[in-house]
C-alpha cells in the first residue's frame, strides 16, 4: 500500500514537478469563488505557500457562492477567513493574508512586494490594473493568471512574457528518438552486422523493427545514390522491399511494425524546425546568464555545432523482439545517450568558464531530462495585455469570424463589457433599468473592435451576446468560478512545474452552451 497522498499526481508530473510545486509561493488578489477555487486546486496537490490579498469583508452573498467562508465569519476579513479555511485542506501548505486594498499594491507598482511570489492569480481586475500587473510580471519574470466571470461566462487570461518548458509531454508526440534515417556509428554497425538469415523462426519474427529498417534503408540508399525514398511511389517501393525480407509477412509482427514505423525515418529532421527557432534566439548566444534553461540551450547549440545532431534521448519504445535483442538494442541507445550527456556536461562547464560564471549547479538528472527532451523543448511567448487591447494580433482570431459557432462572439462581448467598466466604473446592467442603455453603449463599441480584430466585412455580429452579458452583469456563479478554478489551476501547475504546454493566452467558457475556446489576439 502506498501511503503517499500525492501518488495519483506523481504519476503525471513526477518527483521534480512535485518539488517545484512544493517550493512555489502563490499570491491571490481578491478572493471570490474563482480565486479560492483555484487556490484549493493548488493547495490539495501541495503548493508551498499561499497569500491572500483582499480588503473586503465576508457578506451573506459570499455564503451563496464561495465555499471558503462560513456563516459566523460574516463581517470579518475575507482574506483572513478564506486563507484559514483553504490552508486547513492540507497541512503541508502554509499561508498568510493581507487585509488591504489590492489597488494600492498594484498602482504603486510595489516590486519588493510582488517579487516574493512565483505566480499571481488575480480576480475581477479592471483593464488598467491588469495592464500594470503585466508590466510587473515582465520586470520580475512572473506568471500571471487573471480570472473574471460574468454570470454564465468565464474568462481566463494567462500572461508570462516568455515561458520555457523542457518536458512538454505533448499528447500527440512520441518521445522516442531512434535515428533510423541517420543511425549513429554503433547502431549502424550493430544493425548491419545483425545476421538474420541463420535465425530460427522465433528469432526471425522477433528481430526488432529498428534493425529491419536500418538494413532496408541502407540497401535502398546503396541502390539510389545515397538518397532516401522521397516520393509516394518510392516509399511504397521501399515498403515492398521490407515485405520481401519477411519469411511470412502475415505472421511476423516485427515486419509489420517496420512498415508502420517507416514514416519515422522518412520524416526525420536532425534538428526540427521548432528547436532551430529556439537555438536562433539571441539568449542562446548571450554571454550573460538568463536562466538555467538558456544555459542548457546554449550548450545544446554548441553540441549541435560539434556533432551535427541533437543528443540521443536513449528512449526505446516497446516493439516485437526477444528479450535479448531488445535489451541489447536498448543498451546501444542508452550508451550513446550517456556519451552525449557527458559531452553536454563538458560544454556547460566550459561555457560557464568562458562567461566567467560560477559553474552552474546542474544535477546529472537535470541534464538527463534535458537531453531526453531535446526534441520537445518549447518556448511560449504571450502577447502583452496592452498590446492585445491596442493592437491585437489578428493572425488566428480573424479566421474565427468565418465560423458562426465560434465563441469569439463572447470574446467581443467581454471586451465591450470591460471597456464599459473602464468608462463607467461599474458592470453593465447592474439594475434592470440600466440594461437597455448599457446594451446600446456596449453595442456602439462593436464595429471598431471587429475592425481591430481583423473580422471580415461580411461578418455579422450577433448582438444577443451583448444583451446576455448585460443580463448576467456582475453575477458570480459558483459553477463558473469552480470551472475557472479548475482550468486556472491546471495552467498554474504547468507554469510552476515547467511541464506541459500552457494555453496561449485567453480561455473563454460559455456556460450558456457548455462550450469553450482558446484565443490569442
Amino acid at each position: 500500500m502506498t501511503d503517499n497522498k500525492y501518488d495519483r499526481q506523481l504519476r503525471l508530473w513526477g518527483a521534480d514537478g512535485q518539488k517545484r510545486l512544493s517550493e512555489a509561493s502563490i499570491l491571490l488578489i481578491n478572493a471570490p469563488a474563482a480565486g479560492t477555487e483555484t487556490l484549493k486546486n493548488l493547495i490539495l496537490p501541495g503548493v508551498g505557500f499561499i497569500t491572500v490579498l483582499d480588503d473586503k469583508l465576508v457578506e451573506e452573498r459570499d455564503l451563496g457562492t464561495n465555499f471558503f467562508v462560513t456563516k459566523d465569519s460574516i463581517g470579518k476579513s475575507r482574506a483572513e477567513i478564506t486563507m484559514e479555511l483553504l490552508t486547513e485542506l492540507n497541512e503541508d501548505v502554509k499561508g498568510a493574508h493581507i487585509h488591504e486594498s489590492p489597488s494600492k499594491y498594484i498602482n504603486e507598482k510595489n516590486l519588493e512586494f510582488f517579487k516574493q511570489f512565483t505566480l499571481i492569480i488575480a480576480c475581477d481586475l479592471t483593464d488598467a490594473e491588469i495592464d500594470i500587473l503585466c508590466d510587473i510580471g515582465d520586470e520580475l519574470g512572473l506568471g500571471l493568471i487573471f480570472l473574471r466571470s460574468y454570470g454564465m461566462i468565464g474568462y481566463l487570461r494567462l500572461y508570462k512574457k516568455e515561458h520555457a518548458c523542457i518536458q512538454s509531454k505533448h499528447a500527440d508526440k512520441e518521445l522516442d528518438d531512434l535515428r533510423l534515417a541517420e543511425p549513429f556509428e554503433e547502431l549502424e554497425k550493430y544493425a548491419l552486422e545483425f545476421e538474420m538469415s541463420s535465425l530460427g523462426s522465433l528469432e526471425h519474427g522477433h528481430t526488432p523493427y529498428v534493425i529491419i529498417l536500418i538494413k532496408a534503408l541502407h540497401k535502398w540508399k546503396e541502390a539510389h545514390d545515397g538518397k532516401m525514398p522521397s516520393n509516394f511511389e518510392e516509399k511504397d517501393a521501399f515498403k515492398a522491399t521490407i515485405k520481401e525480407m519477411a519469411r511470412d509477412f502475415s505472421k511476423e509482427a516485427n515486419f509489420n511494425e517496420a512498415i508502420e514505423n517507416a514514416y519515422k525515418a522518412f520524416s526525420y529532421e536532425s534538428v526540427p524546425y521548432e528547436i532551430q527557432q529556439i537555438l536562433d534566439n539571441p539568449k542562446a548566444d548571450s554571454k550573460e546568464f538568463h536562466s538555467n534553461f538558456w544555459t542548457l540551450v546554449s550548450a545544446l547549440k554548441q553540441f549541435i555545432a560539434e556533432n551535427g545532431c541533437l543528443p540521443v534521448s536513449g528512449k526505446v519504445p516497446d516493439m516485437t523482439a526477444t528479450s535479448d535483442f531488445y535489451i541489447t538494442l536498448q543498451k546501444i541507445y542508452q550508451e550513446k545517450a550517456k556519451e552525449d550527456r557527458e559531452k553536454i556536461k563538458e560544454i556547460i562547464t566550459k561555457q560557464a568558464d568562458e562567461k566567467g560564471l560560477m559553474e552552474m549547479l546542474f544535477e546529472d538528472e537535470d541534464i538527463k531530462v534535458f537531453c531526453e527532451n531535446a526534441r520537445n523543448l518549447e518556448v511560449t511567448r504571450m502577447e502583452n495585455y496592452k498590446q492585445e487591447l491596442e493592437n491585437p494580433n489578428t493572425e488566428d482570431i480573424s479566421a474565427e469570424f468565418f465560423d458562426p459557432d465560434s465563441s469569439v462572439q463572447w470574446y467581443v462581448a467581454v471586451r465591450c463589457a470591460e471597456a464599459f467598466r473602464t468608462t463607467n466604473s461599474r458592470y453593465p446592467g447592474e439594475t434592470k433599468e440600466q440594461i437597455e442603455s448599457d446594451v446600446a453603449e456596449m453595442s456602439a463599441l462593436v464595429p471598431d473592435l471587429l475592425k481591430k480584430l481583423g473580422a471580415d466585412e461580411s461578418f455579422e455580429y450577433n448582438y444577443d451576446h451583448i444583451h446576455e452579458i448585460a443580463r448576467y452583469s456582475n453575477s458570480t456563479l459558483h459553477n463558473i468560478g469552480a470551472l475557472l478554478g479548475g482550468v486556472g489551476a491546471q495552467e498554474a501547475v504547468k507554469l510552476i512545474t515547467e511541464q506541459y504546454t500552457p494555453l496561449n493566452h485567453t480561455y473563454i467558457f460559455d456556460g450558456a452552451h457548455c462550450k469553450s475556446q482558446v484565443f490569442n489576439p
Binding site: 502506498t2 503525471l12 440594461i435 479548475g486 489551476a489
Partner: protein, 430 residues
C-alpha cells in the same frame, strides 16, 4: 432552526432567474418562483463521493440545491487526499458518502445531504424515480452501464411512441483522466446514451500474454508475469488483495527477480502498484472543472435559465487547452436505447455457442443468458438452473429452429449482470 437569509445569500442567481434572455430555451420565463423551485422542491442524486463527487456536492450546495442525496460504498484511502477535499487524514477508513455529507451540511447551513453506503444496484427504480436529476461521478464502466440502462427502462412512451418527458430522468455524467475529462447530458431515449458510446471508449492498456510469458522487455511485462502467472501458481486458491502491502510486496519481489534475470531495469514498487491496480492519474483541477460543468448543466436542467449542453463536452488540458462540444448521436443498434433495430441475419449453420460468444464480445457482456421471445423458451442460461440448456450451445441455429426453440425470424432476449434490463436482439435465421 434559525431563519436563513436565502434571498440575499443566493442573490447572484437573481439575474439568471428574473431577467429575459435570448439564449434560454422557449420554456423559460423570468420568474421569482424559480428560486423557490430550486430551494424547496428540487431533489438531486449524486452517485459517487470521490474526486468528482466531493466537487459535485459542493457545487450543488452553492448553486441553490438544498435537498441532495449521495451514494457511495467506498471508504476513504490516503491516496484520495490530493483531490477529495472533504476528507482529512483522520477520516481514512470511514465511508466517503457519510463524511462528505456531514462536511457539506456543516459548511453550508440549511443544505440537507442524505448519505447511503450501498451499491447503486441495491436500489430499485422507485428509489431513482424520486429525483429530478441524477449526476454521476463514477470511475468505472460497469456502474455507468447499469445506471444508464435502469434510467432508460423507467421511461414510458405515449401512443405515438414518444417518450413521456415526466418519466425521463436527466443523467449528467462526468469523468476524468489526468488533464482530460468530459461532461455529458443523457436524456434517456431522447439523446445518445452511455451504451451507444461504449465502443468509442479507449481500450485498457494490456500486454500480450506471449510477451509476458516468453519475451519480456519492459518492467511492466515482469510485473504482469508476477501478478497473472506466478501468483496463481504459488497461491492456488487465494486471490491477490491489491490493498494488502504483503501481497503487493510479494508481486514486487517476484517481478524484480524476473527483471534481473533478463537484465531489465525499472521495476519499482511505485510502478508495480500502477500496473497491478491499473491506476489512473487523478488531479484536483480536472475534477473541479468537470464537476463544475456537470452541476452547471444540473442548474440549467432544473430551471431552464439557459439551454442545456448538446450533449457532450470534452476537455483536454495537456497541451494548451482543446475542448469540443458536440451531440453524441444515438446508435441505431444500441442494446439499451434503440427502439427498433434492424434484424441481423444469422447463418443457420452457426452454433448457438458461436452466436453467444459474438454477442458477448460485441456488447462487452460477462455471461449472457438467452431466451427466444416467440416461444418464451430459454436457449441458454448459466449456473445450476441452466444445466439442461448447456447442450443447446452445441446446436446450430437451424437445429434450434427445427426443434421448436426458436422462430426463423425472432427476437432473442439477452440478460446479463452488466445491464439491469432485458436487451433485445432481432435475428433472421437463414
Amino acid at each position: 432552526m434559525e431563519t436563513e437569509n436565502l434571498d440575499e445569500r443566493y442573490r447572484d442567481l437573481d439575474n439568471l432567474f428574473l431577467r429575459d434572455s435570448k439564449f434560454a430555451p422557449e420554456l423559460f420565463a423570468p420568474n421569482d418562483a424559480l428560486k423557490t423551485i430550486l430551494f424547496d422542491a428540487a431533489k438531486v442524486l449524486v452517485i459517487g463521493a470521490g474526486g468528482l463527487g466531493c466537487e459535485i456536492l459542493k457545487d450543488l450546495a452553492l448553486s441553490g440545491f438544498r435537498d441532495i442525496t449521495v451514494i457511495d460504498m467506498d471508504t476513504i484511502d490516503v491516496t484520495n487526499l490530493n483531490r477529495q477535499f472533504l476528507f482529512r487524514k483522520k477520516d481514512v477508513g470511514k465511508h466517503k458518502s457519510e463524511v462528505a455529507a456531514a462536511f457539506i451540511e456543516e459548511r453550508c447551513s440549511g443544505v440537507k445531504v442524505t448519505a447511503h453506503t450501498n451499491m447503486i444496484q441495491d436500489f430499485d427504480a422507485d428509489f431513482y424515480r424520486e429525483f429530478h436529476v441524477i449526476i454521476a461521478g463514477l470511475d468505472n464502466i460497469e456502474a455507468r452501464r447499469w445506471l444508464n440502462a435502469l434510467l432508460h427502462s423507467m421511461v414510458e412512451f405515449d401512443d405515438d411512441g414518444k417518450p413521456d418527458i415526466a418519466t425521463v430522468k436527466p443523467l449528467i455524467d462526468g469523468g476524468t483522466e489526468g488533464f482530460r475529462g468530459q461532461a455529458r447530458l443523457i436524456m434517456p431515449h431522447m439523446s445518445g446514451c452511455f451504451e451507444c458510446t461504449l465502443s468509442s471508449l479507449p481500450k485498457q492498456n494490456s500486454y500480450p500474454m506471449c510477451t509476458i510469458a516468453e519475451t519480456p522487455r519492459l518492467p511492466e511485462h515482469c510485473i504482469q508475469h508476477a501478478y497473472v502467472i506466478q501468483w496463481p501458481e504459488h497461491f492456488k486458491d487465494k486471490k491477490v488483495d491489491k490493498d494488502s502491502p504483503d501481497d503487493m510486496n510479494w508481486i514486487f519481489e517476484r517481478a524484480k527477480e524476473r527483471a534481473e534475470s533478463y537484465n531489465i531495469e525499472g521495476v519499482t514498487y511505485f510502478l508495480t502498484m500502477g500496473v497491478v491496480k491499473n491506476i489512473i492519474p487523478a488531479i484536483a483541477s480536472t475534477n473541479a472543472l468537470v464537476s463544475a460543468a456537470c452541476v452547471n448543466e444540473a442548474l440549467k436542467v432544473a430551471t431552464f435559465c439557459n439551454k442545456s449542453v448538446d450533449n457532450y463536452f470534452m476537455f483536454m488540458g495537456q497541451t494548451s487547452v482543446y475542448t469540443s462540444t458536440f451531440p453524441f448521436e444515438k446508435d441505431e443498434n444500441c442494446l439499451v436505447c434503440a427502439s427498433q433495430r434492424e434484424s441481423q441475419t444469422v447463418a443457420g449453420s452457426k452454433l448457438l455457442k458461436e452466436f453467444r460468444d459474438e454477442l458477448q464480445e460485441k456488447f462487452t457482456l460477462s455471461n449472457p443468458g438467452l431466451t427466444a421471445e416467440s416461444t418464451n423458451k430459454t436457449l441458454y442460461i448459466s449456473g445450476p438452473l441452466g444445466k439442461k440448456t448447456k447442450q443447446n450451445l452445441e446446436l446450430s441455429m437451424a437445429q434450434l429452429v427445427e426443434s421448436g426453440f426458436l422462430d426463423k425470424q425472432d427476437i432473442i432476449q439477452v440478460t446479463d449482470k452488466a445491464i439491469p434490463t432485458v436487451m433485445k436482439v432481432y435475428v433472421k435465421i437463414e
